[in-house]
C-alpha cells in the first residue's frame, strides 16, 4: 500500500501518538485518602497531571486513535497494488446474421478472444456463456433473428462488472456487422452506463458514409407535401423505392417488376380506377406498421399520424400496410414480379403544414420503404456506430479507457472517511459512558 499524499499519513501518525501520550498523561483526580495533616500540603488544584501507571479508558483511547488513523489515511489517499494483472475483456458476439455472415464474425471473435475473457452471445436476445472457452465461440450456432444491441450491452455490462473484481481494467469488445436494425434509441443510453471502453470490431465491410446522400426518387410537382416530407426526413435506399404522385406509367410497372417498390400515392382525392367509398367521411388517424418481414412489431417501428383526413376512395385490394383509425385499410401492397406496387389512399389536406410535422415525416418514410419481405439488411455507418457505442460513460461523457484502480482508490477514501465518522460517533458514546461511570 502506498499513499498519494504521505504527509497526511505522517501528520495522522503524530496526532495518534499525541493522543496516546495525552491519555497517559491526562488530567485526573488522584484517589482521595484521609490525612489529618492535609492542611500542610500546598494548596493546589485538585486535578493534577500525573502519568497513568495503569491506563484507563482503553476503549476510548482505541476509538480516538482509530478515528485519527482513518481520517489521515483517507486524506493521504491510499493506493493498493492490483489484485490481478492484465486487461479483462467481455467479447460480445453477434450471431443474428445466419450462416452467411457467421464465418467472418466467428473468425474475428476467435482472433480477439483470450483465455479468461467473458463471452456474451446475442441475436434478438443475449446471454452470457458460462465458463467460456475458445470452443464456445466455435460451438455457437448462428440464427436469422434480428439483432438487439441494447440487450447485448446490458448483459455485457453485467459481465464486465463481475470481471472487474479480478482485473486491472476491463473493456467490452463487440464483434458484429452492426446493422442499422441492431441499434435503437436505448443503445446509446445503455452504453453510457459503462464507464470503460467499448471496442467495436465490424465483421464485413462498413458502408461508405462519406458519399453525399441522394434524394429519394419522387415524381411529383414542385409544391408537393409528400415530396417535401420525404426530403426532410432523409435519404432512403436509392434505387429500390420510387414514389409516384401522379399516374403510373408502363415504365413504373416494368421498374417494379425488376425488384423496385413503386409507391403510388395520388394527389387527387379520387384517382381513376380506385374504388370510391360509399360516402366520403373523415378519419382522424392513420398508422403504418413495419414493412420488414419477420421483424418484431414493436411500436418503435410503426408510425402514426393524428389528423383529420377526408376519405373518398379506398386503396386497391392487396396486403394492408397502413390502416385508418377505424381499422379500414389506408394503404395496400401487391407483389409485382420481383418488386411490388404500393397504393396509398391518403390525401393530405390542401391547407396546413401537416406534411412538415415529424410524425408525418416518419409516416411517409415508413410508407416509402422497400417491399414487404424484401427489406434489405443495411449496415450502420462507422460514424453512427462510433457515436452510439464508442462514447465513454461517465457524467462528462469522456471515455475513461479502463475501469479498475482509479475508481477503487476513490471508493477506498470514501469508505475510510465513513468509517472515521462512525468512529467519531462511537467516541462520543464511549466518552459519555466513561463520564457516567466516573460520576
Amino acid at each position: 500500500m502506498s499513499f498519494a499524499a504521505p504527509l497526511f499519513a505522517w501528520v495522522g501518525g503524530a496526532l495518534a501518538v499525541g493522543v496516546v501520550a495525552l491519555h497517559l498523561l491526562s488530567w485526573r483526580r488522584p484517589p482521595a485518602l484521609p490525612l489529618p495533616t492535609a492542611r500542610f500540603a500546598p494548596d493546589a488544584p485538585v486535578r493534577t497531571v500525573s502519568p497513568a501507571v495503569r491506563p484507563s479508558d482503553l476503549v476510548l483511547l482505541a476509538v480516538r486513535v482509530l478515528a485519527i488513523v482513518l481520517v489521515s489515511a483517507a486524506l493521504a489517499g491510499p493506493t493498493f497494488p492490483s489484485r490481478a494483472e492484465g486487461l479483462g475483456r467481455v467479447i460480445v458476439v453477434d450471431r443474428s446474421h445466419g450462416l452467411d455472415g457467421w464465418a467472418s464474425i466467428d473468425r474475428l471473435a476467435r482472433s480477439v478472444y483470450r483465455s479468461g475473457d467473458a463471452l456474451v452471445v446475442f441475436d434478438s436476445v443475449a446471454h452470457a456463456v458460462r465458463n467460456p472457452t475458445l470452443d464456445s465461440i466455435v460451438a455457437t450456432s448462428p440464427t436469422s433473428s434480428s439483432a438487439g444491441m441494447s440487450a447485448a450491452l446490458v448483459v455485457a455490462i453485467r459481465a464486465a462488472n463481475e470481471l472487474q473484481r479480478g482485473r486491472d481494467s476491463v473493456e467490452i469488445v463487440i464483434v458484429s456487422p452492426f446493422g442499422r436494425d441492431a441499434l435503437d434509441g436505448a443503445t446509446a443510453s445503455i452504453r453510457r452506463l459503462w464507464p470503460g471502453t467499448v471496442r467495436t470490431m465490424r465483421a464485413g465491410t462498413a458502408p461508405n458514409d462519406t458519399t453525399r446522400a441522394r434524394p429519394l426518387d419522387v415524381r411529383a410537382g414542385p409544391d408537393d407535401a409528400v415530396s417535401a416530407a420525404l426530403a426532410l426526413e432523409g435519404a432512403a435506399p436509392v434505387g429500390s423505392v420510387r414514389v409516384v404522385r401522379d399516374s403510373t406509367t408502363a415504365r413504373d410497372t416494368a421498374w417494379a417488376r425488376q425488384g423496385g417498390a413503386v409507391v403510388v400515392w395520388p394527389r387527387e382525392p379520387a384517382p381513376e380506377g380506385w374504388p370510391p367509398r360509399a360516402m366520403p367521411d373523415t378519419a382522424f388517424g392513420v398508422t403504418v406498421g413495419s414493412l420488414v418481414s419477420g421483424s418484431s412489431t414493436s411500436p418503435s417501428r410503426s408510425a402514426t399520424v393524428v389528423a383529420p383526413f377526408v376519405r373518398r376512395v379506398a386503396p386497391p385490394a392487396g396486403r394492408v400496410v397502413a390502416r385508418w383509425d377505424d381499422g379500414e385499410p389506408a394503404a395496400t401492397e401487391i407483389a409485382l414480379g420481383a418488386g411490388c406496387m404500393r397504393s396509398v389512399a391518403i390525401v393530405l389536406p390542401a391547407a396546413g403544414d401537416l406534411g412538415l410535422t415529424p410524425a408525418f415525416r416518419r409516416f411517409a418514410t415508413q410508407l416509402a420503404g422497400p417491399c414487404t419481405g424484401a427489406h434489405p439488411w443495411v449496415a450502420a455507418p462507422d460514424s453512427v456506430v462510433s457515436r452510439v457505442l464508442s462514447a465513454g460513460g461517465g457524467r462528462d461523457g469522456a471515455s475513461t479507457g479502463s475501469v479498475g484502480t482509479t475508481r477503487s482508490d476513490g471508493s477506498t477514501a470514501r469508505w475510510l472517511l465513513a468509517a472515521a465518522l462512525v468512529a467519531l460517533a462511537a467516541e462520543l458514546f464511549v466518552r459519555r459512558g466513561a463520564a457516567n461511570a466516573t460520576a
Binding site: 484517589p31 482521595a32 485518602l33 490525612l35 489529618p36 495533616t37 492535609a38 500540603a41
Partner: protein, 321 residues
C-alpha cells in the same frame, strides 16, 4: 459530623472477638513502667500524704534541716534540746510529702483515628494515657480522665481507688475516635492546682489549648503536652493522592511528588513552632511517635518532669535560705 455508630460498634466487636495484641501490649506496658516515678514539677499544696514534695514543712517526722529561728516562726517548732546545748534557737525543718490530682485529657476526634486500618494514633494515645495513669496511681495520686470526641466529653473524676487505672483503660478502649470538637472547653472546668496531661495531635484548637494550659500552669498547676504523631504523617505515601482532612472534608489537597517536600517542610516547621510555644510558656512538651513504645514515652514524660522538678527544688531551697 460524628461518624456512624456502626464504626464504633465494629471496633468494639473486633476487640470483643479477641484482639489478643491489645491486652498483652497493655500488660507489657504496665510491666515496663513499674517503678517509674512521675514527680510533680514543683511542691504541691495537697493535704493528703503522698509522694510529692509539699509546700508545707515541719510536721513530718523526717528531719530535713535546721534553720535559725526568725520572728514569726512558731515557737513550737524550736528544738529545745539544741537550744539547751548551744544556747541558740533553731527550728526543725521537715519536708512534707503530698499527693497531686492528675487528669488526663485525651483527644478522641477523627484526626486521631489514623491510620484508618490500624488506628495507630489512637492506640498510642490510649497506651500513653494508661501508662501515665498507672505511674501516677502508683504514687497514690488521684487519677481522672477526660475523653473529648465528636459526641462530647466523657469525664472520669480523679480517684485513688485500686481499680481506677482499669476503669480508665476500659473507658479508653470503649471509645472510637470520631467527629470534631475543640479541646480547650474541656479544660475550662478543671481546677488549677492539678497535674494535667494532654494527649493529642494538636491539629484542632492548638492555640486555645496552649493558652488554657498556660492559665493552669500560672495558677500553680502542672501541664504536660504529649503530641501523638503518626509515621504516615511524617512520611506520607509516595504515590499521588488527594489528602482529605478527616475532620473537615472540604479541606482536600493533592499530595504529589512535587508537593511532598513542601508538605514535610511545613509540617516540621509547625511541630517546631508548636514545641517552642509550649516550652516558652514553661509547659512540658513531648513528641510521641506511633511507632515508639508507649513505655518509653511515659518514661520520657516522667523524666522531663523529674529534671524540671530538681531544678525547681533547688530554686525553692535557694529561696527558702
Amino acid at each position: 459530623m460524628p461518624e456512624p455508630r456502626t464504626a464504633r460498634n465494629e471496633e468494639r466487636q473486633r476487640r470483643a472477638e479477641g484482639d489478643a495484641s491489645s491486652p498483652e501490649t497493655r500488660s507489657s506496658l504496665l510491666d515496663a513502667i513499674r517503678g517509674v516515678k512521675w514527680p510533680a514539677l514543683r511542691p504541691v499544696a495537697g493535704a493528703l500524704p503522698g509522694a510529692h514534695h509539699s509546700r508545707l514543712r515541719g510536721a513530718a517526722p523526717e528531719l530535713s534541716e535546721y534553720r535559725v529561728y526568725r520572728q514569726g516562726d512558731d515557737p513550737k517548732r524550736i528544738d529545745w534540746r539544741l537550744l539547751a546545748r548551744s544556747d541558740r534557737a533553731y527550728i526543725r525543718l521537715a519536708e512534707d510529702r503530698s499527693t497531686v490530682s492528675t487528669i488526663l485529657v485525651v483527644d478522641a476526634t477523627a484526626s486521631m483515628a489514623y491510620p484508618e486500618r490500624s488506628l495507630g494514633k489512637w492506640r498510642a494515645a490510649c497506651d500513653v494515657a494508661v501508662g501515665l495513669a498507672a505511674v501516677a496511681h502508683a504514687s497514690r495520686d488521684p487519677v481522672g480522665l477526660v475523653i473529648v470526641s465528636g459526641d462530647g466529653m466523657r469525664q472520669l473524676p480523679p480517684r485513688t481507688r485500686r481499680g481506677i487505672v482499669g476503669e480508665l483503660a476500659r473507658a479508653l478502649d470503649g471509645t472510637m475516635p470520631h467527629g470534631s470538637r475543640p479541646l480547650a472547653p474541656a479544660m475550662s472546668g478543671i481546677r488549677s492546682r492539678i497535674r494535667l496531661a494532654i494527649v493529642s495531635d494538636f491539629l484542632g484548637d492548638a492555640d486555645d489549648v496552649r493558652r488554657r494550659a498556660g492559665e493552669v500552669a500560672a495558677a500553680g498547676g502542672e501541664v504536660h503536652a504529649i503530641h501523638i504523631v503518626a509515621e504516615e504523617e511524617l512520611d506520607p505515601p509516595a504515590r499521588s493522592f488527594l489528602a482529605v482532612d478527616p475532620e473537615d472534608a472540604s479541606l482536600a489537597r493533592p499530595l504529589v511528588a512535587e508537593s511532598r517536600a513542601k508538605y514535610v517542610e511545613r509540617f516540621a516547621a509547625w511541630r517546631t513552632e508548636l514545641a517552642a510555644s509550649w516550652r516558652a510558656e514553661g509547659l512540658s512538651y513531648t513528641v510521641a511517635r506511633v511507632s515508639e513504645p508507649a513505655s518509653r514515652v511515659v518514661r520520657r514524660v516522667a523524666g522531663a518532669a523529674l529534671g524540671t522538678r530538681r531544678a525547681a527544688a533547688s530554686d525553692v531551697r535557694r529561696e527558702m535560705r
